[in-house]
Amino acid sequence: MGNSIEVKDLTLNFGSVSVLKNMNLDVAEGEFVVLLGPSGCGKSTLLNCLAGLLDITDGQIWIKGKNVTWAEPSDRGIGMVFQSYALYPQMTVRGNLSFGLKNAKVPQAEIDKRIARAAEILQIQPLLDRKPAALSGGQRQRVAIGRALVRDVDVFLFDEPLSNLDAKLRSELRVEIKRLHNQLGNTMVYVTHDQIEALTLADRIAVMKGGVIQQLAAPLEIYNRPSNLFVAGFLGSPSMNFLKGRTVDNGRAFQFGATKIDLTGYEGGAVLERDDAILGVRPEHITVSTTPLAGPSIPAEVEIDENLGADSLLWLKAEGTNMSVRVPVEGRVPAGTKVHLGLDIPKASLFDAKTEQRI
């Protein structure tokens, strides 16, 4: 299968401000790619460029093997779903779904057929003759998805479609979008700042910052092997623990304060010696013990013990650094206790403190 979307050397400047920098992105046919990043990282801008709603400064955009760099949005073979739904308020749901088709002079019979199919898939048949004002937020967003659906296109673009919904509806619709993707097999590009949405929906996630894709990979890869400090810190809650130190013993160990941590098992190989390095360990990859551990362990003191119901979070201080550790509820330790921390080195990440890149 070929690529559904190809972005080549895309650059976008607003005046002297560079918003997207020489970006390349290939999305395979039927793939679900999530653009994830903090606000202002350029993710929505990139989506608008794909849709043709923004004119790019340099580069090319190909969709389904056609160069659409200069094409109108309606000629690109895309459907788009917006954060604010953007339904035409004075038209009924049916009117909203058919407006674009009528304008493209699609025969009425075909319009009816497509609306019936979209309504069935999204289960909005009873709403077809209502106006958007009479719909709930979740229903409106279904209709907005329906508007993309009836266009009968291969590529769907979602611009933070769930951000205006409350938490419960958001998770319901998230599952629904996933189901829709499985059912239709369309290519989908989905913009969000919500990492849960990204991790659950995506085949691949593109983490963006400052108009540059920091890492493009499958969700687990991004979570487990972040390519730089930003990606490591952006995903995960609470965030990854960063231990500042240096690599010693030809890179086979990591010196953190007074503790030397053996790096055996880290990415299966030795790393060079570096004066400034950061060891990143996720809260769930640390074990807590009240007795000294067999291997190298970090002495720490529990400051706060947070019970989250399913598990528990310990906030500790080790060698002057604040850390968090996720432990099972039965592993809770009261505040003030002196403990020893063991790190799961094969699952840890090592970064160069200067370049912030993974070593």
């Binding site: 849709a51 788009m80 407006f99 674009g100 004002a133």
Partner: protein, 310 residues
């Protein structure tokens, strides 16, 4: 129970007596007195007083000598009043249609992400900062048959060219209209532009993805969405038109030919303060009130009554 609550009451009253309702927030009530007086005495009371005295035969001074609808019968048999109403109707409809249509079109042009938007807006709106007197006098000068547009064109060689609206009873309203539009269209443009800017950007994006041409998006989507803005603008412009007075005084003083550009507000002023025939003035101003209510009540119904039904 009752003993305890009584004891409670005694205890609280010995600490701080609960103040009676009327004395709470005294200063806020004192501060609201000007507003209450204005609303009740001037706006409500004054209106009712004038309506009531329009049924009397007051001349120089208001007298409670009721004569039924006599003043109204006289009013509607006066040629001057009939001309005033007719003028207001013609001028009002033309002015309303032109200001709203032109204001909207200008707003649409301004909304095309143009350069120098601030400059264009500043130029289109400055007449609104000027008084009707200044507006009227400037246009009176430009429309001056001897030295104004007509004179200039004739000097260029078109000696038969005629453009003298202010001195021709048939066209004097157009003369007023040119000046009125000059003064007020920028204002309507600003209201419309604010309305256009208030529309969700995503609607435009959705329409582009749907492949709807821009003009069709305006007609089919944007104008219906701006219905409240249109209605509010119509009400503001219409209630201003009914009050039309200064502009006519400055441009034509009601002339030419005595009453070709008379308007109701002028009739009211003349009878109340010049001809010392208060009854006529009251009756005429009551008719003005009536015409405003005809505009206002459907609007209030649409704006506030319709909301309850969602």
């Amino acid at each position: 129970m009752s003993v305890a609550s009584e004891a409670d009451a005694i205890r609280t009253s010995s600490v701080a007596k609960p103040r009676p309702r009327w004395s709470r927030n005294v200063s806020s009530k004192i501060a609201a007195i000007p507003m209450i007086l204005t609303a009740l005495v001037v706006f409500l009371g004054g209106t009712i007083w004038t309506v009531v005295y329009s049924f009397t035969n007051s001349k120089l001074l208001p007298r409670a000598n009721f004569v039924g609808f006599d003043q109204y019968e006289r009013l509607w048999s006066q040629n001057r009043w009939l001309v005033s109403i007719e003028n207001l109707l013609y001028y009002g409809v033309m002015s309303l249609v032109f200001t709203v249509v032109m204001g909207f079109i200008l707003a649409v042009l301004m909304d095309q992400k143009i350069r120098f938007e601030d400059t264009f807006r500043t130029i289109m709106l400055y007449p609104f900062a000027l008084s009707f007197i200044v507006t009227g006098l400037v246009w009176q000068w430009i429309l001056n048959p001897e030295f104004g547009i007509q004179g200039v064109v004739r000097d260029l060689g078109w000696t038969s060219f005629t453009f003298d609206p202010l001195n021709n009873p048939d066209t004097v309203l157009f003369g007023l209209l040119i000046a009125g539009l000059w003064q007020g269209t920028g204002f309507v443009m600003c209201l419309m532009l604010a309305g256009l800017r208030g529309i969700d950007e995503d609607i435009w994006k959705a329409a582009r993805v749907d492949g709807i041409p821009t003009w069709k998006t305006y007609v089919m989507v944007i104008i219906p969405m701006m219905r409240p803005v249109f209605i509010t603008t119509l009400v503001i412009v219409a209630s201003g038109i009914i009050r039309l007075y200064d502009l006519v005084v400055a441009m034509t003083s009601g002339g030419p030919g005595g009453n070709a550009s008379q308007v109701p507000a002028m009739y009211v002023y003349d009878y109340m303060f010049q001809a010392q025939n208060l009854g006529q003035g009251f009756a005429a101003s009551t008719m003005m009130l009536l015409s405003v209510l005809i505009v206002l009540i459907p609007w209030a119904y649409l704006e506030f009554g319709g909301k309850k039904h969602g």
